[in-house]
């Protein structure tokens, strides 16, 4: 779960990390009121779960109420794309915060390093927007240290990191303390990423987190009810919301071939095979390992509610999933959903003969059966592009 900047900052404040004073606002009036209360200059910051907000025009400084209004009007409702074209993410909320006088900008993060199976602390005296470029061109400017899985980050190690990173001498202690707090928060919050970019030194030589990117492990949300309950206003795609409500793993894509597979790997592979056959997948939908009839009905409803979809492929290899259950789900779905697009079904594996027999008996309009994954992919692409 990716937190919004202000949600992350509120967690930082609780962990004893200094952040600028601010208020969230979800409409222009509330944003102006927040600005009036905080005073000027203040910063209006788009709250979306993606980097590159500044470059996209989602962060503006206001010197007075009229500027605050102008910026809030421009930012609330705008669509922001990530640096790799992710999104768009519609801005539903802004965070209005006190502007900071910046003496120096650093970069600090704690991340889970899958390869080494350890957390990794990264610190750089060169903060700001282009940290990836620094990583490529000047890797020595990024100091990295793996943390002991039991002991975490000690204050001594944090000081060492700060000195190695070339942090200004007078704030080495302050930066080290923040690193230790970030590392503690990383463990206590079940985070997989905590990034502060920039971590600033103010004109008064205080160390302040000016940004917060926090990702919490979804599997651990059961022990963080306060975080699990946070609003996620940016998750607004109708199909994705519908899928979430029904407990399905669904990702919306741009194409017109609706896809359902069982198991994430087989489903990804199905997207690839459809693309190889010249088609464009409309979605990724993993019906899971033990798909029952109800799940199939739900899945078909979600897929066909996307108006772009002109044909659907069901690629099922039954292991734990029983193909006769899937067939029953399809037949049930036809009686409940108004199916106006063709469906190509490939059923193989456990109880596939029984499943295929049920489908043949039901003789459903617009349903075709294919014996192989490749054949099914080719056929659905043909049907989708008629």
């Amino acid at each position: 779960m990716d937190l919004l900047e202000y949600q992350g900052k509120q967690l930082f404040a609780r962990a004893g990390i200094r952040v600028p004073e601010g208020e969230p606002a979800s409409d222009v009036e509330a944003a102006v009121a927040a600005a009036e209360q905080i005073g000027y200059p203040c910063v209006i910051k788009a709250q979306v779960q993606i980097g590159g907000r500044g470059k996209a025009g989602g962060i503006k400084v206001a010197k007075d109420a009229s500027e605050a209004r102008t910026h809030a009007e421009a930012i609330i409702g705008m669509d922001i794309r990530g640096p790799r074209g992710e999104g768009p993410f519609r801005v539903r909320e802004v965070w209005v915060e006190q502007a900071s006088e910046i003496d120096a900008e650093y970069y600090a993060s704690i991340i889970l390093d899958r390869s080494e199976k350890k957390s990794l602390a990264i610190l750089s005296r060169m903060g700001g927007m282009n940290v990836e470029e620094i990583a490529e061109n000047d890797p020595d400017a990024l100091v990295q240290r793996h943390l002991d899985p039991v002991d975490g980050l000690s204050l001594n190690l944090a000081r060492e990191l700060s000195v190695d990173a070339g942090i200004d001498e007078d704030v080495v202690g302050g930066v080290a303390e923040i690193l230790v707090s970030l590392s503690k928060a990383f463990d206590e919050l079940d985070a997989t990423l905590i990034e502060v970019n920039p971590l600033i030194v103010t004109a008064a030589r205080e160390v302040v987190a000016l940004d917060a990117k926090v990702t919490i492990d979804n599997s651990a949300l059961f022990r963080h009810e306060d975080i699990a309950g946070l609003d996620d206003l940016s998750d607004e795609d109708p199909q994705e919301r519908m899928a979430k409500e029904r407990g399905l793993t669904y990702v919306k894509l741009d194409g017109n071939v609706g896809i359902l597979g069982n198991g994430a790997g087989l489903c990804m592979s199905t997207l690839d095979v459809v693309a190889n056959a010249g088609g464009e997948p409309a979605n990724f939908l993993d019906a899971g390992g033990g798909s029952k009839a109800d799940a199939i009905v739900d899945a078909l409803e979600v897929i066909t509610s996307d108006e772009k979809v002109t044909a659907v492929l069901f690629n099922i290899f039954g292991g734990i999933t029983r193909c006769d259950e899937v067939a029953k789900g399809i037949i049930e779905a036809y009686s409940r959903v108004d199916m106006d697009v063709p469906l190509v079904v490939r059923l193989d594996g456990t109880n596939s003969e029984e499943g295929l027999r049920l489908l043949a008996e039901a003789d459903l309009d617009g349903l075709e059966v294919s014996g192989t994954m490749l054949g099914a992919a080719e056929r659905v692409v043909e049907l989708a592009n008629v």
Binding site: D2, Q49, I50, G51, G82, R84, G85, E86, S109, I111, L112, R114, S115, K117, K118, S119, L120, I122, V131, E132, A135, Q144, P149, V150, D187, D190, T192, L193, E195, K213, T215, D217, S219, A220, R223, V251, L253, G263, A264, G265, L266, M268, S269, L271, D272, A275, N276, P281, F284, F317, G318, G319, I320, T321, D348, G349, T350, T372, M373, L374
Partner: protein, 289 residues
Amino acid sequence: MSIIVGEETRLCVSGLTGREGSFHGLRNRDYGTDLVAGVTPNKGGQEVEGVPIFDTIAEAVTERGANTSMIFVPARFAASSIDEAIDAGIETVIAITEGIPVHDMLGTYWKAKEADVRLIGPNCPGALSPGKANVGIIPAQFFERGSIGVVSKSGTLTYQIGNELKQAGLGNSSIVGIGGDPIVGSDFIDILELYENDDETELIVLVGEIGGDAEERAADYIAEHVTKPVVAYIAGFTAPPGKQMGHAGAIISGSSGTAEAKKQAFEAKGVRVGRSPSEAAQIAADTLA
């Protein structure tokens, strides 16, 4: 021989009294796996279809000589069950449970490493050595005994490839699902090493997915340490770019993680990559012909 599970496996199942645990544990026994015990706290003394239940894994080890533990308990308790198995002196732990918090697995991973216990998973389908033993949820009917070792991040994709190999008249020494979680006990490299040293294995099929750099590291390892032919398949060429929050992930992983990067890493080291599961199976069949 075969790897991970075989005739010497003496299995105890944590969670055998649960619905899923009993279904799959007993299915494993029906296949011929030596299921010696179940473990559920406070249910010691009971039986499930003739299998004795103990309160602790330690008792299953001393009373029944269990050497392999399958973890089928709910996610929030699963890491401590793995820890329990390690402390009890189990040699191989196979964790099927999905959704174990990553921070729980960090500690457990290193505990297993230090105790030199082989951990497979979590969130994996388990391991099957056809004709010998099956521990986990792999449907054994799609696999014949033979000389191809399979190691995979994905369950259903493995069944798909196994079935294609079977139709081509080929069988498997073992099939190992390592799981796709951020922290897994055994990576591709660990399993490649076992297959390289396994007499029964003549060729290795590796099934990868986008994310992480386990495939890239496997490619380097194969070039240096594996003499047997390896065929790879990668899923996720058309997967959407994951939205990236910060920069830290890109800093540590560079360009790796995409299916294309993984394919290139393998091909640069002379490993052939199938474009579909069928093609991967076909390449394997041609190589052995």
